[in-house]
Amino acid sequence: MATESSEGEEEGKITGGNLVLALDDDLREMGKKAVWSVSSCKTGNGVSSLRDDNLDTYWQSDGAQPHLVNVQFQKKVRLQMVALYVDFKLDESYTPSKISIRAGDGFHNLKEIKTVELVKPAGWIPISLSGNDPRETFVNTFMLQIAVLSNHLNGRDTHVRQIKVYGPRPNPFPHQPFQFTSTEFITYSCVR
């Protein structure tokens, strides 16, 4: 008898969610430099609602599953995390339940890098893109695709209120092999 693993990490099941997105200091939002598009949407609930920093507006899809959100960058960027804001209490059957994240150079060679399953989420869901290998902390890619494969209660369309994409901060001091950590170094390393 399989117990309901509400915290099952093996299958990538995530429950709950944070009301506030707690970030590491060395992450920065990369979405501003990307072109965002969706596979389908209802008028008035388009892709702009995904990026407007307003948790009351949402994107509503209007087509067949899987529903896709495409994030395309002009050059290869290193990405570390994707954060979604979804709320079961508000959206019920529109809440996504299975999400697949793919990366690649373009639509032709996307490869799945992560799958998560959400169980009654409420709030920000951070999804780390790192692999187990320390060499795979970041995904170096031109394009990211977030696919909603299924919804709660078998809903057809989905609501997503906000999506954010994070990558590492570049070294503020160029041409250094490593970043500085101690205050003495940081104080002396720049002129303001």
Binding site: D25, R28, P168, N171, P177, F178, Y188, C190, R192
Partner: protein, 758 residues
Amino acid sequence: MEAILVECVQNSLRHFMYRNAIFMCERLCAGFPSEVNLQLLAGCYLHNNQAYCAYHILKGTQMPQSRYLFAISCFRMDLLKEAEAALCNANEPGAEVPNGAAGHYLLGLIYRYTDRKRGSIHHFKQALSIDPLLWSAYEELCALGSAEEAAAVFDEAAAICIHKQYLHNGVAPPNALMSCEDQSLNFARCSTDDVSTKQLKQMVGNNTRDLAGSYHGSTASSQVASQALNGGSAHLSLYNTPSPIATQLSGAAPPLPCRNLLPNGPNLSAFGADSAQRSTVNPTIQAPRRKFVDEGKLRKISGRLFSDSGPRRSTRLAGDAGANASTNATSVSGNGTSNSSKYLGSSKLSAVALRAVTVRKGQSWANENSDEGVRNEVSDDSRSSSTLGNCSCPSGDKRSLDQEGASMPVAGSVLTNTRVLMGTAEVLGLLRLFGEAYRLSCLYRCQDALDVYSRLPHKHYNTGWVLSQVGKAYFELVDYMEADQAFNLARRTTPYSLEGMDIYSTVLYHLKEDMKLSYLAQELIATDRLAPQSWCALGNCYSLQKDHETALKNFQRAVQLDSKFSYAHTLCGHEYVSLEDFEHGIKSYQTALRIDARHYNAWYGLGMVYLRQEKFEFSEHHFRMAFKINPCSSVIMSYLGTALHALKRSEEALMIMEKAILADRKNPVPVYQKANILMSLEKLDKALEVLEELKEYAPQESSVYALMGKIYKSQNMHSQAMLHFGLALDLKPSATDVATIKAAIEKLHVPDEIEESL
């Protein structure tokens, strides 16, 4: 009616009732249209911050004062070309700039904002030579990087200049506010003054009797200082007599014989501070008379002056004045017999005469408080006679009188000529310290600047301006803790001052004190929402929290408030670069440089941008420019070295790194960079040595261990490498570095595994 309106307008201006002043002035101009009245109206508008009104009414006027006011309005409206045209007509290149020092200063500013550095420097220097107390001109020269040493600028010649000025003022058309002190000072100092010669020449034309008469008249109106000016002041008083007397003439001057020191006395006193006091209505009739008197006296004096030899006339005079002052001070009753015997007789006589005249004068000018003056005159006379120590001619008496009169009673306090001299000397001494310190801090020789500031007297040191300059000096020395303290003190002494608070916010940014920084920003905004410094502080606050977009917005607001505030532009540039918007960043830095070419932060910013974009040639050039401006900054030097290394000029890079290390022992970055360079030059052992030293100094820095690990790895000393990588990881580097280090560790293991498996 015209006079009444003028009086009313001036009164309103004095009491800051600008609306009243404007209304009355408009009536005045409507009723009595004349250019002088237009000037007054323009002045009212300018006081009320309505430069555009002043601009329109003064357009096309030709009088020097009008041109000056017109230029000011154009400057405030940012119409620099018109302002310049008004001040120095292109068709008459040799014409004199209106309002002397002030005009030159304004021209200097215009040239500076239109990028003509040499012209700007020339005009500031002119302004300073005309008026050595024009501190702003010296400040601008320092900012432009071409100021001479303060001791050279604020020296004896300057003192002479000041005296000359006051002297000139004395002879100029009645200026009630002319202080006798100035005049006496001028007198004392201007031995070879052109002005004095001119005045003297004027004097020459008149006969002494006229002089006497005019003096009498003029002095009557002025409150005579109770102390006679000394010899020096005597000269001054002669010079002074024209103006103060003119302004303070009250009633007809009874005809006095040459030896009638009365006229001199009052005149002299007039010279004294009184002239400033007595801005009452001046009977214009007396003015010309006074002029005559003055001229005569001047003539006498000039004769004396020119007969004097030696360059340091002023000192001699000062010396005399000093001696006289002391002696005179004691004999206020007008018996300046303590002084030279030559004048003894005359002084006695004059004293007597004075007394007599005093009485008379007192009666005639009672309403003008001339009693005091008269008494002063008497004493002045005696003193001046003694100080003059010259011929016993009546003019000599007059001169002595003048000298005595040159002491100024200012609202009861008597300023003698010597005191004026002393005052000038003190002011100049103070300015010398300030000027030297400011010049050094502009040249970024901060330690020297700090030394000079510490020599200031305590009550000056503990003012907001000095403390924030001290803070700024510490900031440039990268000693942020001291800077924090100094700025803190500055804020406590003058909490309303915003000068230098943008630098304070940067200091707090460097120290990562976000609480203090946000508190500072809130306070500054509350003090003045329209000052660019407040918005800079707020922007720094957001930038510290890594919210670069909001920080940029705030810096842009600062720029909007004052587009000539170069630091705001530089900070905008920094934020653009953090947002990786290099194009706008470059534009911002270049704007900052256009305003102030010596703003080395902007040069540094540009260098950093090009470094990131891998345009190493450009980057090296910009870092070198920054280095030329601020040759003591070890940070700039280390970046210059990095750029050189990227250009493969590693030898030079190493040299610069050495200099950087020497420049500031506490800066670990150049040492680290040196190790970096050595590593890339394959001098691994030396690199390791350097890093070992660095480890001692900064044991908490993960990048040091990481780099050492890397070096050991390339030397195939795997255990050491592992050790150091582990240490580096323990110190919590950034995610990128964690990845890099872990990857390096993995690679380390592979050869081990291969060995083991073999």
